[in-house]
C-alpha cells in the first residue's frame, strides 16, 4: 500500500520530468488499451472457472447435464441440504475437522515461529548464525521427502488417525520464522526490549505482552497463510487419517473423485467443491490488501 503510494508519487514526478521529451499521444493510449484488454482477459480467466462453479452449485442435476449456463439456478439450498446430509461423504465433519486442524496449525506455527525469530533477533548466543542459516536451508526441503519416515513413525507411535501429526509439526515452520525475522529487523527496535527490562519485566512476559502486539500485522498475514496451507493440505492427511468422520476436506474431495462419478448427483458434486473453495475465496477478498502486501514483502511461500 505504501509502495503503491510511493509509485504514484514517483510516477507523478517522473511524468512532469519526462513529458517534455516524449509524446503522450495516441501511441500511449493504444498501448494502455492493449494492457487493459489483456489484463481483463486474464482476470476473467482467473474468475471464470469459479463463476461456473457457483452457477453449477445452484443448479439441479438434470439441468446441469442438459447444458452449459451462465445464469444461476434456483436449487442452491436443495443442493446444500443434499450435500450436507450425504452419508458416504460426511462433509460437515470435513469442514469442522479442517477448521480445527487449520486454526490450531495457524496459532501454533505463528506463535512459536515468532518466538524463535525473537530468540535469534534479540539475543546473542553461540551457534545463532548457524541455526539461522540452517533454518533457511531446511526451508527449501520439501516435506514430502521425509513422508516415509513420518508415516512409519506415526504408525509405530500409534499416532495414525490422530490430528497430532497434522498439527504439532506446525510449531517448526521455517517460512513463518523467516518472515517474522525480516519483520522484526524492520520494526522491532531492541531499545523497547531494553526498556521493558529496566521496568522489571521478565523475558517471557516482555515477549508475550509487549513484543507480540507490536508484531500483529505480520502475525496476521502469516496466520492466514498457515491456515490456508493447512486447509488445502492433502498429501500428509491422506496418509495419516483413515476413519471417514475424521477426514479433512481435501481427502473428501479425493474420495469424491474416486467414487463412481457418473452415478453422482452433479449438483451435489459442485456443492462439495463449492464448500471447499468458496469460504477461502470470501475471506481472501476481505483481507486481500494485507495478503498481497504480505506476499511482496515475504517473497517466500511454499
Amino acid at each position: 500500500m505504501s509502495r503503491d503510494r510511493k509509485l504514484e508519487h514517483t510516477s507523478a514526478l517522473q511524468q512532469t520530468r519526462i513529458d517534455p521529451n516524449m509524446k503522450a499521444g495516441p501511441g500511449l493510449f493504444i498501448h494502455r488499451m492493449v494492457c487493459y484488454i489483456v489484463l481483463t482477459l486474464f482476470a476473467i480467466l482467473c474468475l471464470f472457472f469459479f463463476y461456473i462453479l457457483i452457477v453449477n452449485a445452484t443448479r439441479e442435476h438434470y439441468d446441469i447435464q442438459s447444458g452449459f449456463s451462465f445464469f444461476p439456478g434456483t436449487h442452491f439450498v436443495e443442493n446444500f441440504i443434499n450435500a450436507t446430509s450425504n452419508a458416504t461423504i460426511p462433509v460437515v465433519y470435513g469442514v469442522i475437522n479442517s477448521l480445527i486442524v487449520a486454526t490450531l496449525t495457524a496459532v501454533l506455527s505463528v506463535y512459536f515461529s515468532a518466538m524463535t525469530a525473537y530468540a535469534i533477533h534479540v539475543y546473542d548466543f553461540k551457534g545463532k548464525n548457524f541455526i539461522f542459516n540452517f533454518i533457511l536451508l531446511i526451508m527449501t526441503i520439501p516435506t514430502q521427502i521425509s513422508a516415509v519416515g513420518f508415516f512409519s513413525m506415526c504408525t509405530d507411535w500409534g499416532l495414525r488417525d490422530s490430528y497430532i501429526p497434522l498439527i504439532v509439526p506446525a510449531i517448526a515452520a521455517p517460512s513463518v520464522f523467516f518472515f517474522m525475522k525480516q519483520y522484526m529487523q524492520s520494526s522491532l527496535p531492541l531499545d523497547i526490549v531494553e526498556a521493558a527490562r529496566i521496568d522489571g519485566s521478565g523475558e517471557f512476559r516482555t515477549f508475550n505482552t509487549i513484543v507480540l502486539p507490536m508484531l500483529k500485522p505480520a502475525l496476521a498475514v502469516q496466520a492466514i497463510f498457515s491456515f490456508v496451507t493447512s486447509w488445502n493440505n492433502y498429501f500428509i492427511p491422506s496418509l495419516i487419517i483413515d476413519t471417514s468422520y475424521k477426514k479433512t476436506m481435501p481427502i473428501m474431495i479425493a474420495q469424491l473423485r474416486s467414487a463412481d462419478f457418473l452415478k453422482f448427483d452433479m449438483g451435489q458434486v459442485y456443492m462439495f467443491i463449492f464448500i471447499a473453495i468458496i469460504p477461502v475465496v470470501i475471506v481472501y477478498f476481505c483481507l486481500s490488501k494485507f495478503i498481497i502486501a504480505g506476499v511482496s514483502i515475504g517473497g517466500v511461500k511454499e
Binding site: T10, L39, D124, I138
Partner: protein, 325 residues
Amino acid sequence: MADITVNNTGPVVAKAKKGKIGKYKKWGYIFMIPFVVVFLIFQAWPLIQTFYYSIFDYFWSQGQLKFIGPEFCGFDNFVALFTGNVSIWALTYNTMIMWVLGFVPQIIISLLFAYWFTNIRLRLKCLGFFKTVMYMPNLIMASAFSMLIFSLFSDIGPVNNIITSITGGEPFRFLSYTGSTMGLVAMMNFIMWFGNTTILLMAAMMGINESVIEAAEIDGANSSQIFWKITLPLIRPILVYVMITSLIGGLQMFDVPQILTDGMGGPNNSTKTLIMYLNQHIAAKNYGMAGALSVLIFVICAVLSFIVYYFFASDRDQKKLKKRG
C-alpha cells in the same frame, strides 16, 4: 523489494549491546526449544529414517499380512527404481514436462504484467483489483480446483456439452490422451501461480532505482531496450529465485495430477509424477522403495537449493564489495 537475502545488520547491533545482553543469553536458547524439539522429532528424525529405509529391503507383504525385513540390501532399491516397469526417468520426464508447460507461459506473462504494473509511463489504474484477482487462485485448494476442472472437462461435463453441440459428434475424452491431460495440469498450475510470480517480479522491479532508468531514457534508450538491457539484468536474482523455487515446487507436483487422474497418472502412467509414485509406495507400506525414491528427490532438491543459496550469497558479496569500494 522482496528481500530474501540474509540480513547482516543483526549481529552487528547485537554485538554493540553484548555487554548488556550477555546475561540474558540463556533466554535465547529457551525461546528456541519448542521449534528445535519439534523440528528434531517431526522433521529430522523422519528424514533420517527415510534415508535408513532406502538401503533396506522392507515392505508390507499383502499375502503374508506382515512386514518383510528390514534386511540390508545395499543399493538394490535404487537399481529397482531405474529398471522397474515404471522407471524413474519416465516419472522425472513427466513431472518436468508438466512443469515446463506451466512455467514458460507463467514467467512470460508474469514478466509482462509486472513490467506493465510498474511502468511509470503507462500509469495503469485498478492495479489493486488486477493483483487481487490474479493472486486469488493461489490460495484455493488445489485438490478441489482439480476436481472442479475434472467435472468441467469430463466426458459428460459442460465443456464436452459445448463440443458435442458444435460438432454434433462424440465428446472429446480429455483424460484419454497424454497431451490433453498434461495440458489441463499445466493450465491449472499456470492459473494458480502466475499471480504470485507477477507480484514477486513486481516487487523486484519496484526496487530498481528510478534514476538508472531515467538516465537510460535521457541517453535515448527506447522502452524495449530499457526492458532487456536494464530491467531484466537488474532483477536477475529474483528471476533466478522464482525459477528455482518454482522448479522445486514443480518436483513436488502432486495434488493436481493425483486428483485429476484419480491417482492413476493415466493414460498409461504418462502423467504420473515423482510424488504420486512416492505416495503409492507409502500407501502400500513399501518403505524401502519409498525411501530410495525420497533420497533421489532429496538429492535433486538439495542441488537446486544450493544453487539458490550460492547465487544469493555471491550476490550479497558483490553488494558488499560495492559498498566498500
